[in-house]
Symmetry: C2
Subunit: 327 residues, 2 copies
């Protein structure tokens, strides 16, 4: 790999001059500029970003910590985050924490040592203090961290929309089935607001929903078949469900097995609206989190912080309910 010095020699100028044309700073005569460009081309020179970063104290790297990129919600989010980061000249270092405290901790350490300019963290399981002590730009999502800029979708409205639709379709015994939060500090989506929105709508009625939290264990090929089967056996009166997209897929299978027709016997609504819903049969109605817009906002927020700007502590992104064939 040629270095700035090689270019300087080849062009017959000092390295300062090369640096100047590289950064387009200061006065340079056209002829020198051309000489330098020629030399760069001839040597196929590429500046060493590591050295530049060291001097500038800015790496243009952002750490992304999520439970696992195998979860479709996070994989879509990761895609868009990387897209927008790249657009702004940032690289993304991927970290799969599996909601494991130790792993999350180690990743943060690693990212800090590697001089990332900021950290994006989803479904964090660590104490807020860990992040506050970092003294580094942070954006949290899928979990509200006090005093750390957070972006989430509008869970409450999501819950309301789903409840209303289920009501409209005549459900008398709706169920909310979500994974419990992993780790001591993790709120489940349910407690995070979806449940509250759901409750808000039902308040005026005689309808009491069934709340269910599933084992929070994460696994690459997670399967909740048995747990779900138990729930439907214990509560045969359930005639509507709001749950995460991934779980909705399993529920469709369980209902097939139990000879419950969707949507006739049970209306089903997912939360997330990732790729899954349109893959399923019947196609899943789902509360859509606008992942792309969320990602764009998250990247904007971290970059603003990196630039030293102040950003709001909480940003809520609106959701919509996409009705398909399960309601």
């Amino acid at each position: 790999m040629p270095k700035i010095n090689d270019v300087a020699e080849n062009a017959g100028v000092s390295i300062t001059t090369v640096s100047r044309v590289l950064n387009n700073r200061g006065y340079i005569s056209e002829s020198t500029r051309n000489k330098v460009f020629l030399a760069m081309k001839e040597l196929n020179y590429q500046p060493n970003e590591m050295a530049r970063s060291l001097y500038r104290k800015k790496s243009n790297m952002i750490g992304l910590i999520i439970p696992t990129v195998t979860n479709p919600f996070f994989s879509e989010l990761t895609y868009h985050l990387e897209y927008f980061a790249n657009l702004k000249g940032y690289k993304l270092v991927l970290c799969n924490s599996m909601k494991n405290i130790q792993k999350e901790h180690d990743y943060i350490d690693m990212l800090k040592k590697n001089q990332v300019d900021g950290i994006l963290v989803g479904s964090s399981v660590l104490d807020v203090e860990h992040y506050l002590n970092l003294n580094l730009p942070i954006v949290s999502f899928e979990r509200t961290l006090a005093n750390i800029p957070t972006v989430t979708s509008d869970y409450i409205t999501g819950g309301k929309l789903a409840a209303q639709l289920l009501l409209d379709k005549g459900c008398l015994k709706p169920a909310l089935i979500f994974q419990a939060g992993g780790g001591p500090h993790h709120q489940s989506l349910l407690t995070a607001g979806i449940g509250q929105g759901f409750e808000d709508v039902l308040k005026g009625t005689a309808i009491r929903p069934v709340y269910m939290e599933l084992d929070p264990d994460i696994n690459i090929n997670q399967c909740h078949g048995n747990e779900l089967l138990r729930i439907f056996n214990e509560h045969p009166e359930i005639d509507g469900v709001l749950t995460e997209d991934l779980l909705a897929a399993e529920i469709i299978r369980i209902c097939n097995r139990l000879d419950k027709k969707i949507p006739e016997d049970i209306k089903l609504i997912g939360y997330d609206d990732v790729m899954i819903p349109s893959l399923l049969s019947p196609r899943l109605s789902s509360v859509r989190q606008p992942i792309k817009e969320m990602s764009e906002y998250i990247i904007e927020s971290i970059i603003k912080q990196i630039k030293g700007e102040v950003v709001p502590m909480l940003h809520t992104i609106p959701v919509t309910l996409i009705e398909r064939e399960t309601t």
Copy 2:
């Protein structure tokens, strides 16, 4: 952020000494070592990996270029690659190329400038020369690149296993439906060997399969409904299908719509065995690529190359056929 100099002053030694205990090199008295450790703890010192990398000319970063992490196959692969990379002390920089030549090119540039120690590239669309000229450790997967270490699953055997099962189940008109390769240099899975394996098994019989290549366009929420519908309308005699998992999901929906029963009227086999198959209803039979083992091998291979060792140009990973409810 405290620097090595701060630690040195605090401990009353030279920075060389601090560096020595940091790297555990050379002779150091226990007492000095302890003094230094204490100072590091007191200042909460973390060595600047960027500076170390600059000196060592080794960043411990690996670039990962894939079409899109939203594809379940690549998201699972990415998860495991990151896992094993992390285990060996490497970070992964994620790049979603969308099989776009320009993007892939720019990402390579970026990675090179950022001094990654190696590049992992899946479904590359660039000329081999681009990679050979890089003069950097590379591992390719999901596409065979001449003179570049490549790892793929055993497509031929995969095709054979599927063909045999379809035969055994009495199919007379099996179809192979895959996405065409994107970009000028991209082989589709079909031409890559699956088709050949399939053909091998059918050779002795009177059975002629239907080959179908779908529009290679990638989209986050890709949907091939209309194309698939057309295929089944034009070929109502199809009674068995081998396809990618993701497409299999769509085919199940189409069959529902067309009132074709699975597996009675049509036997369906996926390729990949990612998370999707067990989500579907009926659960999808699928040729399993051992993604975890592939990932482990890929990381091993790139690290060996980084260390200057020679690795085989082609490594084929065995596949198995997981029979579930669609055959």
